[in-house]
């Protein structure tokens, strides 16, 4: 997995609540058997008009959002389907982090599995970031540091965030979770033996 230590980049603002994974990556694009190439389908129904042309009204198509790598979003981002194609699409598009007041559980875990950092900030701080992004001359930039767990814009915004220490460790080092669990092989095998034994004992 790609590690996440720190990242600085342009911000795209998507101030909508309850953005579901059907919006992030519509179902017609879930038939591929690869992990790559989903970026062009990201937010498809919002991003493109019915004739396939770019929708100029969609937040990500505005000039200020060009080349953005940090997505600023509303509460309960990523609700709905468990499809990991959603973080694959966001990463493939170029995003490295998402800042929102809250995330849906499965989506949050899926992001962490892909080196895409989900940052939870209080609603008021997200509002402040949205205000600053809207007022920026051309682009709005943020720096996110996972070591110190802070979000900064270099212009007075400097706020800490909290993330589960396990997730943080995995992300900082880009660790392979399966490899770590396989190191617990003796414990897994012992658990299986004890369950099998109690099951057999109950029948005999």
């Amino acid at each position: 997995m790609q590690a996440f230590i720190s990242h600085a980049g342009r911000v795209a603002a998507l101030p909508r609540a309850n953005v579901d994974t059907d919006q992030i990556i519509p179902k017609q694009f879930l038939k591929r058997i690869e992990r790559t190439g989903f970026g062009e389908c990201l937010f498809y129904d919002w991003r493109y008009l019915a004739d396939g042309s770019s929708n100029p009204d969609f937040e990500l198509n505005r000039p200020a959002a060009a080349d953005a790598t940090i997505l600023l979003a509303g509460a309960n981002f990523g609700c709905g389907s468990s499809r990991e194609h959603a973080p694959w699409a966001l990463s493939d598009y170029g995003f490295r982090a998402i800042v929102a007041p809250s995330f849906a559980d499965i989506f949050f875990g899926n992001c962490c599995q892909n080196g895409l950092l989900p940052v939870v900030l209080p609603e008021l701080e997200v509002k402040e970031l949205l205000r600053r992004a809207a007022g920026a001359q051309k682009f709005y930039q943020l720096g996110i540091d996972l070591k110190s767990c802070r979000v900064r814009d270099g212009a007075g915004f400097d706020v800490g965030f909290v993330i589960d220490p396990y997730r943080r460790e995995m992300l900082l080092h880009g660790l392979d979770e399966i490899g770590r669990t396989l190191q617990q092989e003796s414990r897994i095998a012992a658990f299986e033996r004890s369950r099998l034994a109690s099951r057999e004992a109950s029948v005999s």
């Binding site: 919006q23 058997i33 509460a75 309960n76 709905g80 468990s82 589960d164 396990y166 399966i178």
Partner: protein, 475 residues
Amino acid sequence: MARTLFTKVWDSHVVHQPDGGPALLYVDLHLVHEVTSPQAFEGLRLAGRKVRRPELTVATVDHNVSTGDRRLPMADETAARQVAALVANAREAGVELFDLDSPEQGIVHVIGPELGLTQPGMVIVCGDSHTSTHGAFGALAFGIGTSEVEHVLATQCTVQSKPRTMEARFTGLPARGVSAKDLVLALIRRIGTAGATGHVIEYTGEAIRALSMEGRMTVCNMSIEAGARAGMVAPDGTTRAYLAGRARAPRGERWAPAVEAWSDLYTDAGATFDRTVVIEAGALAPQVTWGTSPGMTAEITDRVPDPADAPSEAERQSCRQALAYMDLLPGTPLEGIRVDRVFLGSCTNGRLEDLREAATVARGQRVATGVRAMVVPGSQAVKAAAEREGLDHIFREAGFEWRNPGCSMCLGMNEDVLAPGERCASTSNRNFEGRQGRGGRTHLMSPAMAAAAAVAGHLVDVRGLMRGKSGEYAD
């Protein structure tokens, strides 16, 4: 110490609990389907890893399959390639697969219970958010992403932080015409689509105890629509009666010890939940969604809400966007909103009991002119059982299409989709923008309500139809 049902199941599956970190949980049953598994199998291959316990893994095809004639080859080449990948992966790994030709094929959350694979006290995972369905049996069942699917394939374990607990207590008994779907929609309406984020819900109360297993599955299925990790119901006589004699349930000399083991699966007196929500089931009318999120629900006797009445600017904005997408005006009575399509099916409401409820309404009626209505049984077994009872005749004579099993228009990965602007009365679980087809407009409701909408041509209170023909409706 007094423990909740959830805590008992959790505790009995902890393989390892590192200090301050998430637990390593053992998985008893891993269900697999074609859409969220190919990248997981590919990941295993690239890392030179094997499926650790293929015999605890069961696969089927449901999401992208056609509900039309199964004798024909799949017309969608990309979908066919995805199905072929699952067939090859299952064969290579030694995983049992119920493929398109199998009499056991169906929606993964329908076939697990009907085969008796789903059992009380298990930990069950699947790369699908509606895995919460299996919690109806007192299992801890939750959806996972593809990376976690790969992890479970390789280790038979999953790394999980312990969720908090919520009790959703339904007091009293619902009135006639008010079903399991209405109970869970009412809950989501009350607590919102993120209301149970980070929690496992245990459903309790007289109304839950009175539900059949099918009804409990409908309730647990939509736990994810309230943001919950899982939903659970303590097993009881209803659970045992459902499981007795199922193909993969404990049989013979294994039945009594299994029942004995399940007898401890309830929340102890004195155990506490992190949160409790109480809903008076007897006071509910049939529920129907008006917006683009399952929390945007009202009673059928209500009107489309006015965004101006929403408590915050964010909610006013969401409401305005939803009404614009749904092409509805504030103050419009919900009863009377015309529909173009009706979808009966899905892992929420595609079981035999759901089809019976809908058939009771459809019997001797005709689908309204201009409405296209389809029935998609949740599995081949549901379809066969329904045909033995003659439900297919009732639906066909009333003008409904009788199709083959799959997820179908719940998510529209196959050819069953709404055209832009079409409005659908649907028994599925999500009314998100474009979920059933780009520009399609979804109203979620119970099977009886959806059948009633098909007949009336518009959203309608099924209780009125029942009063009109009371003799034909079983209580």
